[in-house]
């Protein structure tokens, strides 16, 4: 599987964990705010391009690919600090660093790091934009399409063993299978 596919599926997975409450043991589906979506889109693109440039200009020529987790940590820490500062201004009185607990930050953290990870050294700027776009598409799929599926699943008579998380994961598998054709070859064929 190529980078575009990975970025799509990892965003899909991370969003499923939080939006479907798998990680918070909650059955309620949280709606995503449009502002968060655009903010994440901007951050993913900015970070993907930044990481890609640093990667191809520093890590690859100096043969320091093993240090890529440290580079990720640097960029993510910058994101942490920036988000905390923004959060501090938005909610006066709350202590510095409380933004870590905010659900949108959890989402965006995964979103950013996956965009970073999916940026490969050989990708051009167009490739990075495509990777970010596919990640966004994954986010869109998991937050909007699957929300409708979940509400429909609730009405179906399902075996008690598969109720809740198992059936959610199986339906996510079917959605993922349906979108497995969306990779680099899909885009190449689309534009040819």
């Amino acid at each position: 599987m190529n980078d575009i596919g990975y970025s799509f599926y990892l965003i899909f997975t991370s969003n499923i964990m939080f939006s479907w409450g798998l990680l918070n043991q909650s059955s309620t589906v949280k709606k995503q705010k449009p502002n968060d979506f655009f903010l994440m889109a901007f951050l993913a693109l900015a970070y993907s391009i930044g990481f890609n440039l640093f990667f191809s200009a520093v890590l690859v020529p100096m043969r320091l690919l093993s240090l890529s987790p440290v580079l990720c940590a640097l960029l993510i820490s910058f994101g942490f600090l920036l988000s905390s500062v923004v959060h501090k201004f938005q909610s006066k009185g709350k202590p510095f660093g409380s933004a870590i607990d905010a659900p949108w930050l959890k989402n965006s953290l995964l979103f950013i790091v996956i965009a970073l990870v999916s940026s490969n050294s050989g990708s051009s700027i167009t490739g990075v934009i495509l990777i970010s776009a596919s990640a966004l598409f994954g986010y869109f799929c998991s937050s909007i399409f699957l929300e409708a599926i979940i509400s429909r699943i609730e009405l179906e008579p399902i075996s008690p063993f598969f109720k809740g998380a198992p059936i959610r994961l199986i339906s996510a598998a079917l959605i993922a299978l349906a979108f497995s054709g969306i990779d680099l070859s899909f885009f190449i064929q689309l534009f040819n």
Binding site: M1, S66, P69, S77
Partner: protein, 193 residues
């Protein structure tokens, strides 16, 4: 009651492994990811043992984050020496590990952090990393009816369920495993009654 809550918490933490389970699509990759994850889990646990209060601090999380990343770089360097081809496949996947929700989740724990807690966390760390390893093995086995720990294509392999190489296969496998686990648990409960 407490054990029930803890068991539920641990199941929730297993869901937090999902990104790694998706990435672990062969035994060789599973080995690298599970060893890296276990190393990070142990480092996080040891650091939390030295932390006196249960408050979440940004500075502490960031320091821990950097230490984990440096440990991962070390593991990647060793992987590069052992198998350069495998390194090419995993070096970007490993970057996901510091942000796996499980590592964040244990930072929120309200339990008293003593040696007993540390040992228990070590056991859970082993369980989580075994889950990553086993998922990699099972997916590779289901795809080609063969497996290889050194990432070389097996000559006698034939395609069985190619779908399990895809993330869709990982979702399906985890969903079915959860359902099967619940079924076995209920059967066990009934037979003990």
């Amino acid at each position: 009651m407490n054990s029930k809550i803890e068991s539920r918490e641990r199941t929730t933490m297993l869901y937090g492994l999902l990104p790694l389970l998706i990435l672990s699509d062969s035994l060789a990759i599973g080995i690298v990811l599970s060893v890296s994850f276990l190393f990070c889990y142990i480092v996080t646990t040891v650091f939390l043992l030295f932390k006196k209060d249960n408050k979440l601090q940004l500075r502490f999380s960031l320091i821990l984050f950097f230490i984990i990343s440096i440990c991962l770089s070390l593991i990647l360097s060793i992987t590069r020496i052992i198998n350069p081809f495998l390194f090419e496949l995993v070096f970007l996947k490993v970057c996901v590990i510091p942000l796996v929700p499980v590592l964040f989740k244990i930072q929120f724990t309200q339990n008293a952090k003593d040696h007993e807690w540390g040992l228990r966390e070590l056991l859970y760390g082993l369980l989580f990393s075994f889950t990553i390893l086993f998922t990699g093995f099972l997916r590779e086995f289901l795809v080609s009816f063969s497996f290889s720990a050194i990432f070389q294509s097996a000559d006698k392999a034939f395609p069985l369920f190619p779908m399990f190489n895809q993330p869709a296969g990982a979702f399906l496998l985890i969903g079915l495993a959860l359902g099967l686990g619940r079924y076995i648990k209920q059967k066990k409960g009934k037979s003990s009654e």
